[in-house]
């Protein structure tokens, strides 16, 4: 048996070595990808140009969004003469990662704030922010969100803020009027209490940083300092905010969407498992499934430090491997123009990222003005590399906030953030 084993190992090893060497040869042929550190500087005039068709990959929130983007891109295609194809990803993060690793990413794609750092770092992205014709039209805070390493990487495609959505029917049923719309934490708590009856909880929202962070902002706290260099998770303000949420989770006037059997706040709101919810612009599209519910959008109440909310945005990422980056730039300018963004907003809800569209949007959407007003005091989510993992961990701990210790949770988040930010 021993001879057998030795022969086996030898033969297997030999086979393996031969194959690996062959593949190395193939590998060299494939590695005409640019040096990772090189193309990240995004100097103007270095965009590729060709006649190749473009692939646009989006992470769609539903049929409305997919159709809207497809229509827009088709219109541009007809105009510019460059073919473009829109692909709605089933799992955008996974497909992007695979595309980059395989060297065949889509030319243009949705890029979220937490993915920017990672892809910018490994050279997958082409920075083009400074090349945009309309770059001064974007909101300052959005540009900051997509600036990494002092380079403005990609054009913000839209944004949303969180505000308070109230079920008008249940509101009047509880005997509340417009004067009762809460403007402080205490008022919010008392209103939630009045609205908690039977199967309905007063305020239902997702049990994650992306919602609870609004309370943290209202208390004056944030996870990472505005310039992104210091971790501030364990501030007293944050502890106060989590304490407030915990108190009302315990007395049953607040609840997490998952705990009432809904997938997210919007579903809980639509099924009237919650009388109020904290959500962003996208809720308008989702509530189409629940036509009997009448939503009223108002600004979130002010906390101890005043008004605060969170702001979410995605940008149009451009692949460094794209053979026709000039075409992509053209497409992006078209898609981020005021008229096009207003059309998108009408189709599936988010707010235009360009200031020139603000007034028109307010006129078109008088019921949703609160969302746009929120941009004045909204906080962005942390964009440092690795911060997304910390937030995932934070969310995992927030899941048991009801029985947990806010200080301990925030301390652990602080530790994790320091490893990432410092």
């Amino acid at each position: 048996m021993k001879r057998h084993t030795a022969r086996t190992l030898l033969a297997t090893g030999g086979l393996a070595v031969v194959t690996v060497l062959t593949l190395t040869g193939c590998g060299q042929g494939f590695s005409d990808t640019p040096d990772p550190s090189g193309s990240a500087s995004g100097d103007a005039g270095s965009l590729t140009s060709s006649d190749d068709a473009l692939t646009v990959m989006i992470g769609s929130s539903g049929d409305a969004e997919t159709k809207a983007v497809q229509d827009a891109v088709a219109a541009w295609s007809a105009d510019s003469g460059i073919d473009a194809d829109v692909v709605a990803a089933t799992n955008l993060t996974e497909q992007l990662a695979q595309g980059f690793a395989a060297g065949s990413p889509p030319d243009l794609f949705y890029l979220s704030t937490d993915q920017l750092a990672g892809y910018a770092d490994n050279g997958s992205l082409q920075a083009y922010g400074d090349l945009l014709a309309n770059k001064d039209d974007f909101y300052e805070s959005l540009v900051t969100n997509f600036t990494y390493d002092d380079t403005f990487y990609c054009a913000p495609k839209d944004f949303s803020t969180l505000q308070l959505i109230i079920n008008e029917g249940l509101w009047t049923d509880a005997g509340l009027t417009e004067a009762d719309i809460p403007t402080t934490w205490d008022q919010l708590a008392s209103v939630a209490e009045k609205l908690t009856t039977g199967d309905t909880t007063g305020l239902v929202f997702g049990g994650e940083y992306a919602r609870i962070g609004a309370f943290m902002a209202q208390a004056g706290g944030r996870l990472v300092s505005e310039d992104g260099t210091t971790a501030e998770a364990d501030s007293d303000a944050n502890v106060e905010a989590l304490g407030y949420v915990q108190e009302h989770l315990k007395d049953g006037t607040f609840a997490y969407a998952a705990d009432v059997g809904a997938g997210w706040g919007g579903e809980a709101f639509g099924k009237e498992l919650g009388a109020m919810t904290i959500e962003g612009n996208w809720i308008t599209g989702a509530l189409g499934d629940y036509p009997d519910v009448k939503p009223l959008v108002v600004e979130l109440p002010a906390g101890p430090a005043g008004q605060g909310t969170l702001q979410f945005t995605n940008c149009w990422g451009m692949a460094a491997d794209s053979p026709n980056q000039q075409g992509v730039l053209d497409l992006v300018e078209y898609l981020t123009s005021a008229e096009q963004q207003l059309a998108f907003s009408k189709a599936f809800g988010p707010m235009p990222s360009v200031q020139s569209a603000a007034d028109q949007w307010k006129t078109d959407n008088p019921d949703l003005v609160a969302f746009l007003d929120g941009s004045a005091y909204a906080q962005g989510v942390p964009t440092n590399k690795g911060a997304a993992d910390v937030v995932t961990d934070f969310n995992a701990q927030l899941g048991s906030l009801k029985t947990g210790d806010p200080k301990a949770i925030l301390d652990s988040v602080q530790t994790n953030l320091e490893a990432v930010v410092g």
Partner: protein
Amino acid sequence: MTAPATPAATPTRPVSARPSRSGGTRRGEAGAGWLFVSPVILILGTFLLVPVLMALWVSFSDWSGRGSPLSSNVNFVGLDNYASITSGGLATRDFGTALRNNAWYVLLVVPLQTALSLFLAVLVSRRMLRARGFFRTAFYFPSVTSSVAITVLWLFLFSFAGPVNALIAWFGGEGPNWFREPTGLVHAALASVGITSGPDVLTQNTALGLSWWDWLAGPSVAMFALILMAVFTTSGTFMLLFIAALQNVGYELTEAAMMDGANAWQRFWRITLPQLRPTLFTVITLGLIGCWQVFDQIYTGTKGDPAKTTMTPAYLSYTSAFRDNEWGVGAAIAFILFLIIIAFTIFQRWVLRDRPVSRRRIRAYQSATYRKGAAS
């Protein structure tokens, strides 16, 4: 684990060895032989052997996800990736959590599924059973379905307003929000008798980023639902193996034991079970190997939630690479898992080995035979 896999046996010399004749009918046989096995070698080598080597390289390198991992810009970084998941920080805690979850999963699934499949096999093998085929089919059917389909079904069954909770409510209880409940079962049991936090020695000392108290938290309620699902889907496969083995158990010994007055439990434990040892070994090995690789169910269903209590090393390996772009870390996790599986298999083999009969027994047997008078 949807099909009964044959156990990995050690290679033996082929039984049908015949003296080879030169020329004549045997000419060209060597060529044909190599030709016939070449597709197998090529495909297995390329898609099973080489990937393992490539992953080994990636786990020792700093490849960031772009271009070829064998290109010249990729550097050898030694054990850095392995260090990042064992020496501290969020990555280590995630790895520790994943290991803990999977360890509890293995601890509960393997004994449960072995016992249940053996029990079902014994039930179905009873001589006086009618409609044996129907019952066998019923028990085996879940093993045929895809893990994705079963996970979707399970998500519905154990949803907050689903059939399981409705059934519990019918009996007057209140079911938990199964897939959203992150409390560990051991912690919950301890809490029900009043112990809500552990002694300092457990809470203050950590291993892989988790305190020992957290290691002992038990599977979460969500994980428990997945454990039930695993037992549901694999008990049928192993039941078949046990049925086949039971049919090989000669009836004479059992009959003799019956005549000597051994009751059913004694008969089972002392006569049947020892003869099932090889099958038991197979079932436990296959169970271990399968359980340490839980991935499909997590990917389809819970994705690590709630609160990372259904995160497993296989899924963590996948997310580290494909979501977080940490390919080296993902490969490192995969290899550590590989080592764990090998270790468990070897350990289990050692535990279940055929031990030599002890001298006391031999002596007792000999004297008994002598006393009774040796049978002719």
